[in-house]
């Protein structure tokens, strides 16, 4: 369970908006976080707090395969991204680096500026105060395990060590 403020974005938020290529001469997560969402909302990096939630429309993360995009979002403190749909490489990358993301058909109706509680186990999103609820597709348990481990590589290392 996580709770945070909602930052709303529209459809087709591309990877250049999430982290412009001009900052890709580094892969340091802390540095990438400083420029997260910069070309969509220059104030985002300054306002986002640990536990906050990005809510967006269709095709979130379209464009480049740059893993720097989910890395920047995670390093900025975002607890999860909820969108109507995700671009496929971004979807894979997010889990691989341990950023939980949820597909929710009603993502657009989550109120701007609201605060939400997100249950990653069940996919239930609750607006704090009004109690309004939205149901996202739950994350399969093995993918939750990848997120909990901190990404695919720590997950694989952990599994290998457990098997020894």
């Amino acid at each position: 369970m996580t709770e945070g403020n909602v930052f709303k974005f529209g459809d087709n938020v591309d990877t250049d908006l999430i982290i412009p290529a001009r900052y890709l001469n580094t892969s340091d997560p802390a540095e990438l976080a400083l420029h997260c969402m910069e070309d969509a909302d220059p104030t985002f990096a300054g306002r986002v707090q640990s536990g906050d939630v990005i809510v967006a429309g269709a095709n979130f993360g379209c464009g480049s395969s740059r893993e720097h995009a989910p890395v920047a979002i995670k390093a900025a403190g975002v607890a999860c991204v909820v969108a109507r749909s995700f671009a496929r490489i971004f979807y894979r990358n997010a889990f691989n680096i341990g950023l939980p993301i949820l597909e929710c058909a009603e993502a657009e109706s989550v109120p701007t500026g609201s605060r939400v509680r997100v249950d990653l186990d069940t996919g239930r999103i609750t607006v704090v105060g009004t109690g309004q609820e939205y149901q996202a597709r739950p994350i399969p348990p093995f993918m939750q395990a990848i997120v909990t481990a901190g990404g695919l590589i720590p997950y694989v290392i952990g599994r290998a060590e457990a098997g020894k």
């Binding site: 250049d16 890709l24 001469n25 095709n59 395969s65 894979r92 990358n93 590589i153």
Partner: protein
């Protein structure tokens, strides 16, 4: 059981008779690709696992995005990749001076062949579908895991079939065919799917044109673009391929999620207006759009066909005084061929700059960044907000003939307007 070409390649690499859309499989990978932006992250993850590279010859690394290095940070990134390549004895590391834009370089060097499974930590890895391969973009972590294991998991995509019929107009090519399709289905029209291109127009299209088409499949959200290998593919691959290859074709009764049929006889050259590749209209309806810069190049349109086409339009003419035109060959071999054919002279006499191979301007990296309020016509693949520089600049995507004509006119123009 009837299958599509994509399904057959995936089945063969998963050690199965057949696969079905939606099925999760583990498949062997023939080629793994990284570049100077994505490889450093992959290397960091790979080294945490602490195993050797499963097959050094299968891993291809190309410094092409910020190279020749634009600053100290990008030099440090390129160095990470260079040292990794040396440490693991990778025969397919291509240094500046012998390199090219990755998706132009790999087919040219015979590193990809029909029937291969290719993953690359670059979204435009789907380019190699033009050779009848299954090729898809992944992130750095997936590349890292596959460098260790030699295989990766895939969800078998549903296939969309695009049948092109009719006769192409004189200035219409692969770029227009793919822009037209993206304009019709939208930037998420092929989300999680394979885009299979076929029909008489595709059969007549050059390999360069086919590579352009498959390159942009990802702009419709596709997992891969693919054109089944035919005699033209064979003629291209023969003599280049470094490994044996295997040709697959879709069964006539294979299952498709949807079939699109386009009669393209009346298709004009297309322009994708800001800020999405699906904002497509015919060049004659682009309006009076003054421009500041033109870029001909990139993994989309930096091949010989493209340079020849741009040079044909520019020959004996001058780039407009208010326009900066940048021409970038896809590889060193293309550079040399352009030199031999006199194309470079045509570009320079016309007032264009001719560069070493680099992805630089396409992603707003270096060598052609736009200032606030500036507009570019570019043969590249994306026109997202801030793609080529300032978030308040604009990119219009077009084929090389339209790009060259626009450079002459100082505004978006079709080649017929300047000839």
């Amino acid at each position: 059981m009837p299958q599509t070409v994509t399904e057959k390649i995936l089945a063969a690499h998963a050690g199965k008779e057949y696969v079905e859309p939606g099925e999760l499989i583990s498949a062997k990978v023939d080629v793994l690709l990284g570049n100077d932006i994505t490889a450093p992250l992959a290397i960091r993850e790979f080294e945490r696992v602490g195993v050797p590279v499963f097959d050094p010859a299968a891993v291809v690394m190309v410094p092409d995005h910020f190279t020749p290095n634009k600053d100290i940070k990008s030099a440090e990134q390129a160095k990470v990749m260079r040292e990794f390549a040396r440490r693991h004895d990778l025969p397919n590391y291509f240094e500046v001076g012998r390199m090219g834009i990755e998706h132009c370089l790999l087919p040219e060097q015979g590193l990809v062949g029909p029937g291969d499974v290719v993953i690359g930590a670059d979204s435009h890895t789907c380019t190699y579908g033009a050779l009848g391969a299954f090729a898809t973009g992944v992130g750095s972590t997936d590349l890292a895991a596959a460098m260790a294991l030699g295989e990766t998991w895939f969800k078998v995509p549903e296939s969309l079939k695009f049948v092109y019929t009719g006769k192409l107009g004189p200035w219409v090519g692969g770029k227009d065919l793919i822009l037209h399709a993206i304009g019709e289905i939208g930037v998420e029209g092929a989300l999680y799917c394979a885009m299979e291109f076929c029909g008489p127009v595709i059969e007549n299209l050059s390999l360069d044109g086919r590579l352009t088409m498959c390159n942009m499949a990802v702009e419709a959200g596709a997992k891969n673009g693919i054109i089944a290998a035919d005699d033209k593919t064979d003629a291209y691959v023969r003599g280049r391929a470094r490994r044996p290859y295997r040709v697959f074709a879709s069964d006539p009764d294979a299952g498709y999620k949807k079939v699109y049929e386009f009669d393209v006889s009346d298709l004009e050259p297309c322009v994708a207006c800001p800020h999405l590749p699906d904002n497509v209209r015919p060049v004659s309806r682009a309006g009076d759009v003054k421009i500041d810069q033109v870029v001909v190049g990139s993994c989309t349109n930096g091949r010989m066909d493209d340079l020849r086409l741009a040079a044909r339009v520019l020959s004996g003419r001058k780039v407009h005084k208010n326009v900066r035109m940048i021409v970038i060959p896809g590889t060193q071999e293309i550079y040399l061929q352009a030199l031999k054919e006199g194309l470079i002279e045509t570009f320079i006499v016309a007032g264009a700059v001719f560069s070493t191979p680099t992805c630089g301007p396409c992603l707003g990296g270096h060598m052609g960044i736009l200032a606030k309020g500036e507009r570019a016509v570019s043969t590249t693949n994306r026109n997202f907000v801030g793609r080529m520089g300032h978030p308040e600049s604009e990119v219009y995507l077009a084929n090389p003939a339209v790009a060259a004509a626009s450079a002459i006119a100082g505004r978006i123009a079709g080649p017929e307007e300047v000839s």
